[in-house]
């Protein structure tokens, strides 16, 4: 590019860099690099005086790209970027390259090699920086209105919280009235303090229906959601086929669809009369028929925490304790027996007090093992008491089963409409991206209550308020900005193969009709987090990350391998920003010794590494290529490390088939805070490559 005027600032870091690196040599070498228009040494580039000098040089020399050679970018890059932004440059046109930790400190006993490495690193970054465009960050304004899906306790609470913050709220409930589902409606009292459930919920429903900012849409469900972050265009209907839907725009969606109670046919002799669920027993206790019962057996974890439904529904233990106490109160002579595997008291002292109260009231607790569950016959319940080892036969008037809460039938539909994940059990998990906040635009979709996971009424209420406050913050901010290096599709190249759609871990890519002929891939710039997996996946290279493009990476690889060999091997390492790159910076800060032949290139995610990058490196004279990625399960972009592993394995196989030693490629899992392990792994790899010696490029 001809319009690039690049300035390089070499920081002495007082004397922490200049006491080790040969700064004069470095300065001369950097000045000779193509594209470099200006080189300046600074005593302390990050001090107010240093930044002032940097700004003055930008103005005086007309620089439009700035490279500072100093310490780790992780802490100070933003400092220099801010200075450049003040001078009217794009923030991506400024970079900090680490020659202190990565060169001066790790190779302090080999100043000559350290200086060579610094020169190479500067050359790599110069090559990359001069190719870098200045893309705009994706922004969107947020419609200040909210949709709450579900009119149970969580939904009503969320709607009220939002409305009280002055936001217009649409509350969609598929039943004909507000309040919990038919099963949960049987619950008469809530919690250890025996609050009247019906009155409590009626009061909440009354407040919702009276609030002027809340529009309650009863008997309707969401049938379509179009648009993207900031403006979701929602269509609600009485039934999916009904054409007369209502469409409106919202900026935030709170999902409070709750969970579903079941009638467990075939489970432990369930018949709805003598063997009942907790919900049915609750109604019986309420109708004051509980006093007539002599023998009540409660079976906890009935039909849950097994292979089919592996989770704990969380509310049944407390419900059983409450019901056992109530049955005892109704009839002091009743034999109430509680068969349990574990008791989930949720760590609350007052729930523990309930257990003591139940024992004092004479409730029997019998523990059964998962391997020998109780069985129910017409006459009795048979159970093996795990603690005493006795086989017990318990006569019963009533068996109460603690059955599981399941996700709603339409949860997959909603997950598809909202583009949100479902966990292995079918609930909507709390998705939390471990990415920098500025690279992760808020989507405005929040889940609360039992739609997230079976919750007690207190938890549902708390989660609803929490979700509503997050939504309020999102709506009141007014705009979303995504600073991540987002990917772009070249529509003239896209063949519509849709491989990128499944490669995107964030659901940012969809297919769009064009010309009635081809479906073309399109990337939502607000959802893209810039991992680059789609770029590598695309078979025709129609997708590009402008801020981390293939051209920039290839230029960096080429620049890394340009220097004279001097009888040494040349090793190229790619470090995922979240693992190997972080560990390498830490190794430098801790002054651990690392092999000086290694040139490390930072990538956003290990999935960004294309096999062609590796081939390019080998063709340009690299003797070994190392990729450091997050350990399995720790990828910040869901499973980029798995993609990287698969790609590298395939490449190793292909190269081995052509007589190339596959040991020259290595993928290692690196924890970001374990500098010692990283130093050890990269040293081991360098020793192996030294032993193997320089390699000739793999033949075609």
């Amino acid at each position: 590019m001809s319009d690039v005027t690049l300035g390089v600032f070499l920081c002495d870091c007082q004397d922490r860099i200049s006491s080790i690196l040969e700064m004069e040599v470095l300065q001369t070498q950097v000045r000779a690099l193509p594209d470099v228009a200006w080189v300046q040494r600074q005593r302390c580039a990050c001090s107010p005086d240093g930044l002032e000098a940097l700004r003055a040089a930008i103005a005086a020399q007309g620089l439009n790209r700035v490279l500072v050679a100093g310490c780790t970018p992780r802490t100070l890059e933003s400092c220099f970027r801010n200075a450049c932004v003040q001078m009217g440059l794009n923030e991506n046109w400024c970079e900090l390259v680490d020659v202190r930790e990565a060169c001066a400190w790790v190779h302090r006993d080999r100043p000559q090699q350290a200086t060579q490495k610094a020169r190479d690193l500067i050359r790599m970054h110069v090559a990359c920086l001069s190719l870098r465009p200045a893309p705009e960050s994706a922004t969107a304004s947020v419609v200040p209105a909210a949709l709450v899906i579900g009119g149970g306790l969580a939904g009503m609470t969320a709607a009220l919280t939002l409305a009280r913050a002055g936001l217009p709220v649409k509350l969609v409930e598929k039943e004909a009235s507000l309040g919990p589902c038919a099963a949960l409606r049987q619950v008469r009292t809530l919690g250890p303090d025996r609050r009247d459930a019906a009155a409590f919920l009626a009061e909440r429903a009354e407040a919702v229906s009276r609030h002027p900012s809340i529009e309650v849409l009863l008997g309707m469900q969401v049938t379509a959601i179009a648009g993207t972050v900031g403006r979701y265009s929602v269509t609600v209907n009485h039934s999916p086929d009904d054409g007369r839907g209502l469409t409106f725009d919202v900026g935030a969606v709170v999902v409070a669809t709750g969970a579903r109670a079941v009638r467990p046919r075939g489970l432990l002799g369930y018949d709805g009369e003598r063997v009942v669920t907790q919900w049915e027993f609750e109604r019986e206790l309420g109708a004051a028929q509980g006093g007539a019962l002599r023998d009540v057996v409660m079976i906890l974890c009935a039909g849950q925490r097994n292979a089919e439904i592996p989770y704990c529904s969380r509310i049944c233990c407390l419900g059983a304790l409450k019901q056992a106490l109530e049955a005892k109160t109704a009839n002091l002579q009743a034999n109430v027996t509680l068969l349990f595997r574990d008791l989930n008291l949720q760590g609350e002292e007052r729930n523990k007090a309930q257990v003591l109260a139940a024992r004092q009231a004479g409730v029997r607790f019998i523990r059964y093992a998962p391997g020998s569950p109780p069985s129910v016959t017409r006459q009795e319940v048979q159970v093996h008491d795990e603690l005493s080892g006795a086989d017990l036969r318990l006569p019963y008037d009533r068996v109460v089963l603690a059955t599981p809460l399941l996700p709603q039938h339409d949860a997959p539909v909603l997950a598809h409409l909202l583009n949100i994940a479902q966990d292995a059990n079918g609930f909507f998990p709390a998705v939390r991206y471990r990415l920098r906040p500025q690279n992760c635009a808020e989507r405005g979709i929040y889940v609360c209550g039992s739609a997230h996971f079976p919750a007690t009424w207190r938890e549902a209420e708390f989660e609803a308020i929490d979700a509503a406050f997050l939504a309020i913050r999102h709506l009141q901010t007014g705009t979303v900005i995504n600073h991540a290096p987002t990917a772009k599709v070249d529509e003239t190249l896209c063949t519509g193969c849709a491989q990128c759609v499944s490669a995107c871990p964030f659901g940012a890519i969809s297919m769009r009709k064009r010309d009635c002929v081809l479906d073309l891939s399109q990337i939502d710039p607000l959802l893209c987090k810039g991992c680059g997996n789609c770029v590598v996946t695309c078979p025709v290279k129609a997708i590009e990350l402008p801020l981390d493009s293939d051209a920039q990476l290839l230029a960096q690889i080429g620049a890394a391998l340009l220097g004279p060999r001097d009888g040494e091997v040349r090793i190229l390492a790619f470090g995922c920003e979240w693992s190997a790159n972080a560990a390498a910076e830490l190794a430098g800060a801790k002054r651990l010794r690392c092999p000086p032949e290694v040139r490390l290139i930072r990538v956003g995610c290990s999935a960004r590494l294309d096999p062609t990058h590796v081939l390019w490196a080998l063709l340009n004279g690299a003797d070994g290529v190392f990729l450091g990625a997050c350990p399995p399960g720790d990828c910040h972009y869901v499973d980029g490390n798995r993609y990287a592993e698969q790609r590298l394995n395939t490449l190793q196989g292909l190269l081995a088939a052509r007589g190339f030693d596959p040991r020259r490629l290595r993928l290692e899992w690196v924890a970001p805070d374990d500098a010692g392990a990283f130093a050890c792994k990269i040293t081991g790899f360098a020793e192996l490559i030294r032993a193997l010696g320089p390699c000739s490029a793999p033949g075609e």
Partner: protein, 245 residues
Amino acid sequence: MIAVTIDGRRIETAPGRTILHVAREHGIPIPTLCYHEALGPFGACRLCVVEVETPVRAGDPAHGANGPRGRQIVASCAYPCADGLVVHTQSKEVLRSRRITLELLMATSAHVPVIRQLADELQVGQPRFTLEPDDCILCGLCVRACREIVGVAAISVINRGIEKRVSPPFRVASDACIGCGTCVLICPTGAITLADVNPGLPSVHAQPSPFEVVDCRICGHHDLEPHFVDLTLLTEPVVGTEAAI
């Protein structure tokens, strides 16, 4: 431009700089532990103290610039330069103050290389006090880096006085932590690891464990709500289990 005098050297500088900025820019060494260029001044470690001379009665026309001057010890990382300021970075009082600070740091962190090196430079020997060894010197760099650089505030300083600690909120694994490792990188003593902030590093779709479980101390292999055994079994032992308990 304003003029300050540091250790007898007259230095011209732009206004708005702290003493530490000017000293570093001109190669005058001042030790620091809690200062980082990417963060605002904090004034926690008290190692960067210097002595400044200030007019006793500022603006008193009877004395002018050459009137009587007072001396005070200030943190150079946070003290802005003013015209005519006279600074001593190696005076007896300054060194005494730094040595006491370092001796206190040595009492808990004598095993940390950075602290030992500073102690050697300032000729602080074996401290007169010993406390429980601790890597963390409470400089607050990790907390400030998390908030100011990363922008997530996953950790904070909790408690006061001798109870002061760096911890995620409520001492439980922080949901806000993104696992970037900036706190680990910036820590001068290597005291913090990601496991301190967020044990287990949950993946993107992590789901909180529904309840805390421990092994049953009777059968040894089942998940059990903590304290359950104490609550239900010990109050009324079931026949045949005394031996097991």
